[in-house]
Symmetry: C2
Subunit: 349 residues, 2 copies
DNA sequence: CTGTTAGCGCATTCAA
DNA sequence: TTGAATGCGCTAACAG
C-alpha cells in the first residue's frame, strides 16, 4: 500500500501518471465525478488510494478562488457560553464542508495584524462582541469579505446576531418586584459591554420611573462577585438592598455563595438572580433563577447566514435577535420546584 | 456585494505598481523588512495601507510550502475540559503566528473525508482521544504530516500528551480508604476511554489485592449519574457501598445531588468523589473532592511540541504525562475548609 | 538593496 | 468524455 516514500510529494500529476490520465481528469473525479466515465473514475480513485493522495488545500483555494473556511473571532473560551456558540457554529459550517479558523483575542497584542492575516485566509469573518477594532478597520475588512457580528455594537452598521436582553431583563426584574422586593440593585458594569447595557436598561425600565440605584460596578467574573458580596456584608453599600440582579451567572453565583457563607439568607434577606443558566446554577442551593440563552442556536444561525453570504447573498445591516427564556428556580424567592436539578428549558440533553 | 461584483482584486502587483517597485520588494517588506531600504519600505507600506492590501493566504501557503496552521480534532466542546485545552493550544499556536483549525467529531458522519481534507490544509494534526479512525488511516496521515495524540490510545505508537491518571486515582482511593470507607465502587465504564480505564486501574490498585466490586457502568454525563443514584436509592445495587469514585465530575455531581435529594447523607452515609475539578465542584454542598488536571497546560504543551515538529524536529513515540493534583474538599469526608469556595490549586487568580 | 523569473498544486476554460 | 494550456497570488532563487 505505501508506495509513496515519505520524501516525495504526491500531487495531481503523480496520480494522473499512475492512472494513465491527465491531471484534468484527476481533478474532475474529485470535483465533478459525474463528468468522468465510470471506468476512468474507478482507475483514478484506485490510484488516489494507492498513493494516499491528499489534495493541497492552498492550491485548491488559489485556483478555485475560495478558501472554504470561516474565521471566528472570540474573546476567549472561559465558561460554557463561547464553547456552546462555537459548537453551534462549527456544526453548521462543517455541514457545508467549510472549516472554522479560530482566533481568541484574549491576551493578544497585535490583534489588528492577526485579523488582517486571518482575513486573507477565510471567505468570511464573524466578530464576537466588541473586538477592540476601530470601525474603520472593520469597514476595510467588510469591503473584502462578508463580516457578521455577534452581540456586537449595533451602531456599527453591519449585520449581526444576538440574543434578546432588554425585555427579558425587564421581565426578570418585574418578577422580583412581584415578590415584594423593593430595593433592587443591578450588579455589573453597563459601560463594559452591550449585553450588560441592555440588561441594565431592562432592569431600569421595570421600575416604571421609580428611582433606581446606581449599578454596582463589576466585571463578569467570580472574583468581582465575591468583592460585591463582601461590600454588602460589610454594609459598605450606599443603600440597603433586598434583591440583586446580576449581569451574569458567574457574578450571581459568587455573590450568592459568599452571602450565604456570611450568614445572609438567600432569598430570605436578599434575592439573587443571574443570566446564562450555566451548569452550576442548577446545582447550587438555593438553585439560581436566571435567564437561558439559545447560545448554540445563535452560533448555528450565524454560520448559516455566513454560508449564504459567502454563496453570494446580498448583505444587509439587519440585527437578528433570538429570544431567551426565564428560568425560575429558588434564589428569587420562589418555592423549590419538584425534585432536584430544576431543569433548564433550553438544554436538550 | 453580489457574486462577481468587480471588486478590484488588490494583489502584490497592484501594490507594487502603486509604490513603483517590483512585487519581490513588496513581498520582502512583508516577509523580511530588514532586507529593504528604510525609504522604500515606507513607500510600500504606504501603498499597502492606501490599497488596504491583504495578502492571499492560499497563495502564500502554496508558494512558501507551509500552511502556518494546525489542525485540532476534538470530540466536542461540552464542559470546561476541551475549552481549556483549546485555549491553551491556541495561545501557543498564535504566538508562532499559526492559526488553529478546529474539527469536532461529535455527530459527524464522514469523518475520514473531513480529516483527509484537513490534512491538506495544515502543517500538523493533533488528535484527541480515540478519534474513531483506524490505525492504518492515522499511519497514512503520519507519513504526510506530524501527528500528535492527546489522551489517546498509547499503543498506536505515535507521540502523545496526557495527564496522569493511575497514580492519582490510587492516591484518591487510598484517601477514601483512610477515612475508614471499606465498600467502594467505581462509577464509569473503563472500556469506554483510556482515561477512565487508567483511573479504574488506580482504583483497583489501591485495594492491595482485596476484592473489588465491578465498576458501575456509566458514560461521563449527568444523565448517567442520575441513573446511578436512582439505582442506589432503590437498593438495586449488588452490594452496599459507602464511597463512590466517579470517573468525572459531571457524574459525581449528578450522583451527589440526587443522593442528597433522596435523603442520603453525603459524605455521612456515602462519600462521593470525582475528577476534573469543574466550576460546580466548588459551589455544591458538600463541596466535591476531585482531581484537578492542568488541562490548559496540556494544550499548551502539545502546541509547543507541534511547533517543534513542524519546524523539522525529529518525531518520536514518547508519551508525555503531566501531573495532576488532588483537591480535597468535603464530599470525601474531610471537614469543611476555611471559608467558602474552597480554591482549586491549579486555577490562577 | 532591488528586479526578473520560475514555479508552488490545482481548477478551469477551450479544443478535440 | 478527455487532454492541453492558462493562471490563481505569492515566494524564492538568481541576477544585477
Amino acid at each position: 500500500m505505501a508506495t509513496a516514500s515519505p520524501h516525495e510529494r504526491v500531487t495531481v500529476y503523480t496520480v494522473a501518471e499512475r492512472a494513465g490520465v491527465s491531471v484534468a481528469t484527476v481533478s474532475r473525479v474529485l470535483q465533478a465525478p459525474h463528468l468522468v466515465r465510470e471506468k476512468t473514475r474507478a482507475t483514478v480513485l484506485q490510484a488516489i488510494d494507492d498513493l494516499d493522495y491528499v489534495p493541497h488545500g492552498a492550491a485548491r483555494s488559489l485556483a478555485s478562488r475560495q478558501h472554504e473556511a470561516h474565521g471566528l473571532v472570540l474573546p476567549e473560551l472561559g465558561g460554557p457560553y463561547y464553547s456552546e456558540l462555537l459548537m453551534g457554529y462549527e456544526s453548521v459550517a462543517a455541514e457545508a464542508g467549510h472549516s472554522v479558523i479560530l482566533l481568541l483575542t484574549d491576551g493578544k497584542t497585535s490583534l489588528d495584524l492577526q485579523l488582517r492575516r486571518m482575513a486573507g485566509n477565510v471567505d468570511g469573518l464573524v466578530l464576537m462582541g466588541d473586538v477592540g477594532m476601530s470601525s474603520a478597520a472593520i469597514a476595510a475588512l467588510r469591503r473584502r469579505i462578508p463580516v457578521l457580528g455577534l452581540t456586537g455594537p449595533s451602531h456599527d452598521g453591519y449585520e449581526s446576531f444576538s440574543t434578546e436582553n432588554t425585555a427579558s431583563a425587564e421581565q426578570l426584574t418585574r418578577h422580583l418586584l412581584g415578590h415584594g422586593r423593593s430595593r433592587l440593585a443591578f450588579v455589573g458594569s453597563p459601560s463594559l459591554a452591550r449585553d450588560v447595557r441592555e440588561r441594565h436598561t431592562g432592569f431600569v425600565a421595570a421600575h416604571d420611573g421609580a428611582p433606581v440605584a446606581d449599578p454596582i460596578e463589576a466585571e463578569l467574573r467570580e472574583r468581582d462577585g465575591r468583592r460585591v458580596a463582601e461590600l454588602i456584608l460589610a454594609g459598605a453599600l450606599d443603600t440597603d438592598v433586598d434583591a440583586l440582579v446580576c449581569a451574569n451567572d458567574e457574578l450571581a453565583l459568587a455573590v450568592l455563595d459568599r452571602l450565604v457563607d456570611g450568614g445572609v439568607k438567600v432569598p430570605g434577606d436578599i434575592a439573587v438572580v443571574g443570566w446564562d443558566d450555566v451548569m452550576t446554577a442548577r446545582y447550587v442551593r438555593p438553585a439560581l433563577t436566571t435567564v437561558a440563552q439559545p447560545v448554540r442556536d445563535l452560533g448555528a444561525a450565524a454560520a448559516a447566514r455566513m454560508r449564504e453570504l459567502i454563496a453570494g447573498a446580498p448583505g444587509n445591516t439587519h440585527e437578528h435577535t433570538l429570544p431567551t427564556t426565564l428560568v425560575i428556580r429558588e434564589s428569587c424567592g420562589c418555592p423549590a420546584g419538584q425534585g432536584s436539578l430544576h431543569p433548564s428549558p433550553d438544554k436538550k440533553e
